[in-house]
Amino acid sequence: MFPIRTERHVLANGLTVVLAPDRAVPVVAINLWYGVGSRNEREGRTGFAHLFEHMMFQGSAHVPKGRHFELVEAAGGSLNASTWFDRTNYFETLPSHHLDLALWLESDRMGWLLPAMTEEKLENQRDVVRNERRQRYDNQPYGDWDERIQELVYPEDHPYRHTVIGSMEDIGAASLQDVREFFETFYLPGNAVLTLAGDIDPIDALARVERYFGEIPGSDADPPPIPGRHDPGPVIGGTTRDTVRSRVPLPRIYMAFRIPPVTDPAFYTADVATSVLSDGRASRLYRRLVREQELAKDVAAFAFPLATGRSLMIAWLNGYPESDPDELEAGLVRELEGLQDVSRDEVARAVALSETRLLRQAEQLASRADLLSMHQQLFGDAERLNGEVERLRAVTPEAVREFAATTLGSDNRAVLTYLPGEEQG
């Protein structure tokens, strides 16, 4: 399997095709990345990229409503899609003798979506998405944390200022005209990467892709620029704060930082630093705050691979019911700033864990296809995936120390505190 070998082609209409044959099992993963996400949304239409993703499952010119899921499930396939800040991906994994079915469905909605769009379908999916928001945000303890964090980390004119799910009001305001414009602007072959990983013969597969996608017209127009100012600067410029009293079971502190975007080589340092902090029980945050000091019930940290201007690193911890929030915050700050004395062993441990995780991700066809799409979309080189472990290994303890000193200080910190109690106001 490793290194993963791919063939890459660009159809006349601009669609980039990545073929990654692996014939061990008669299964094929199809993954389609569109270069559009919540970052592309205009004011008053937050959440639209995600609502649009839902509309992509409501049928297209030759596929009646409900048939998309039905056909893939009846073929023994699994399918879904997800919307994020920079992209929207659609994927299905199915027995390889049903490859044509997936290509037919994906090409039909890439080329012939609009004739199938109706007010009734939009109304239904607005309800579904508003219920998704209620379920995941409004009816959950801490459910609004990312809305609050994004507002603390990014200025008003940054495309990451608002969440992918969007506001209730904006979701409700979406119209069929919005669907049409969004489709015509962003759902173009030239703005997409199609990856097939698994049981394919590249020559045969390319001919099939050409057959289903080839007649979709391309466009000379580039998608419009991402709205707003992309680079707000390397640091927040102070410590921004939000304290929320609400019906939560335990006090919880989130801390977030601007970090270099995933397209910057320095992102790997941020990634390794995050693993040193929170990956496994020998990680700094677990070892010190959970195990030794018993300050936190649990801890976590993530470096998000975002591409537009500045990305985001988040660390959080849950206290115990009786914890003092100031002590929790001070403990977390101590460990983040303490990263300035990181050892060679700690970095080696973090890289070893990342290596196993990368192999596990690449082992599964669906996530392999997704990673290939990502590297093709962001770097124009799907096979760049093969160098990920080396890039992590190249991160030195000195670089992590430097990262901690320049990035994790009080001039680049957003602090969100949840305290148990009744909402005020």
Binding site: R134, P249, L359
Partner: protein, 461 residues
């Protein structure tokens, strides 16, 4: 079907109909080798060399259903403290040693078993196994580790009580099972019981239930099966102990009358709905028919429930049903989260779908589609070393035949509409199903009462 229409370069005659399928390539599960180590531990191995990884799971008959209500949570707490230290190393040193190898021991405790699993690079298997052996032979349960884990579990129980979905699950379990039945409580116990679990209790549970005679070991990945046997035997030879008998559980039966239980969550914007019953044990003759039936009712995206509540009415982001089958019985459950305003309508629709499904049974085309779905996604559940390991672990925990998964698709394809109707009828009685709603009582109780499904009983959290 005319094969020529599926040539890759044939012109697309029409988009109007789904394309024909290509030639089927058979999927064969890799061969499983079965052995027994000298300690009595059952060993199952699969050799695969596509990826330089090995996944492993050590499964033990050390689940929560062994415990009385007073001791509830002991199995979970023992599992959580298992890597807290050994005769040779502190917990911190152990974590350091394991993670330096690029891996980690995941200890997870269920009703029937505790499983210790990991995935590592194949070249580091020997060292990882030596650490695993150190843990299962000599876990020392240092007092400070047990104390901290207890505190973490108590805080986690507090989190459960404020999460609407787990609140609904717990309220349903309590409504479905008699109070002396383990399944009536949440898996990790109750604050009163967890508070009383001592280090001695964890040590005793470990001594009694972490025994090779009552366990199984699964290894899947890039290693020759002969090597694996010698390797596992060498590392685990010092681990001793025969299986202890498993206690019988009380039988769960439900009277026909029932209240609609509303757990009040003032101002909630959604209501968590549950409909549930006691269900059959794992490994019975109806398992396959029930799996097909559940897929049609509420297992797949295109299930009756999801098409109704989500795609027709927009009441919810999604709805699912499932049979959770355990060693001694289990549950059948429908679950969804709906907008507060439509709570009563959504409950009526879900309850109605269940009744219709049980009385009329599925249509032949629904069964045909579900059979294709389940047999088609089967290879996707068997794709990675970790997935194969988990499937083989189930075979060991539930004492299923060794060819259980190898014959899965054959069995699923033999399921008929009549078979589904009969099996569902035997195990699901909608008239006895318990109904639980977690939501804003002042806005939903009246309409729920008007449904006439039972008297509404409001409780607060």
């Amino acid at each position: 079907m005319n094969p020529s229409t599926n040539a890759p370069d044939a012109p697309l005659r029409s988009r109007a109909t789904p394309p024909p399928q290509g030639p089927i390539r058979p999927f064969n599960l890799p061969e499983v080798r079965a052995d027994k180590l000298t300690s009595g531990l059952r060993l199952r191995t699969i050799q695969r060399s596509e990826v330089p990884l090995v996944s492993a799971a050590l499964v033990l008959e050390a689940g929560e259903s062994l415990l009385s209500r007073q001791a509830a949570g002991t199995a979970v707490l023992t599992g959580d403290s298992l890597t807290g230290g050994t005769a040779e190393r502190s917990g911190a040193e152990l974590s350091e040693a394991v993670e330096r190898l690029g891996t980690g021991f995941q200890v997870s405790t269920g009703w029937d078993a505790t499983s210790i699993s990991f995935t590592c690079l194949a070249e580091r298997l020997d060292e990882t196994l030596s650490l695993l052996a150190e843990v299962v032979v000599g876990a020392s349960f240092p007092p400070e580790e047990v104390g901290r884990v207890r505190r973490q579990r108590l805080a986690a129980l507090q989190q459960r009580r404020m999460n609407p979905a787990s609140l609904a699950d717990d309220a349903l379990a309590e409504a479905v099972f008699p109070p002396d039945h383990p399944y009536a409580r949440s898996l990790s116990g109750e604050p009163g019981s967890v508070q009383g679990i001592t280090r001695d209790a964890a040590l005793a549970f470990f001594a009694e239930r972490y025994r090779p005679g009552a366990g199984g070991f699964v290894l899947v990945g890039d290693i020759a099966a002969d090597d694996v046997f010698a390797l596992a035997d060498r590392h685990l030879s010092a681990w001793k102990g025969a299986a202890l008998p498993l206690p019988e559980l009380p039988t769960a039966t439900l009277p026909g009358t029932r209240p609609v239980i509303v757990v009040d969550r003032p101002d909630a914007v959604q209501s968590e709905i549950r409909i549930g019953l006691p269900g059959p044990s794992r490994g019975g003759p109806d398992d396959d028919a029930l799996e097909v039936g559940n897929s049609i009712l509420g297992g797949a995206f295109t299930s009756r429930l999801n098409m109704n509540l989500r795609e027709r009415h927009g009441f919810t982001y999604g709805v699912r049903s499932r049979f959770a089958q355990r060693r001694h019985g289990g549950t059948f459950k429908i679950g969804t989260s709906v907008q507060t305003e439509v709570t009563a309508r959504a409950l009526a629709e879900a309850e109605g779908e269940l009744r219709r499904f049980v009385s009329e049974g599925p249509t032949p085309s629904e069964v045909a589609q579900a059979r294709e779905y389940l047999s088609g996604i089967f290879p996707l559940r068997m794709e990675t070393t970790a997935q194969l390991t988990a499937r083989l672990a189930e075979v060991l925990i539930y004492h299923l035949p060794d060819d259980h998964h190898h014959r899965y698709r054959e069995r699923i394809r033999a399921v008929t509409p009549e078979g589904v109707r009969d099996a569902v009828g035997r195990h699901v009685d909608p008239g006895r199903a318990r109904l639980v709603v977690v939501g804003d009582a002042k806005r939903i109780a009246g309409e729920l009462e008007d449904l006439g499904l039972g008297p509404v009983e409001v409780t607060s959290t």
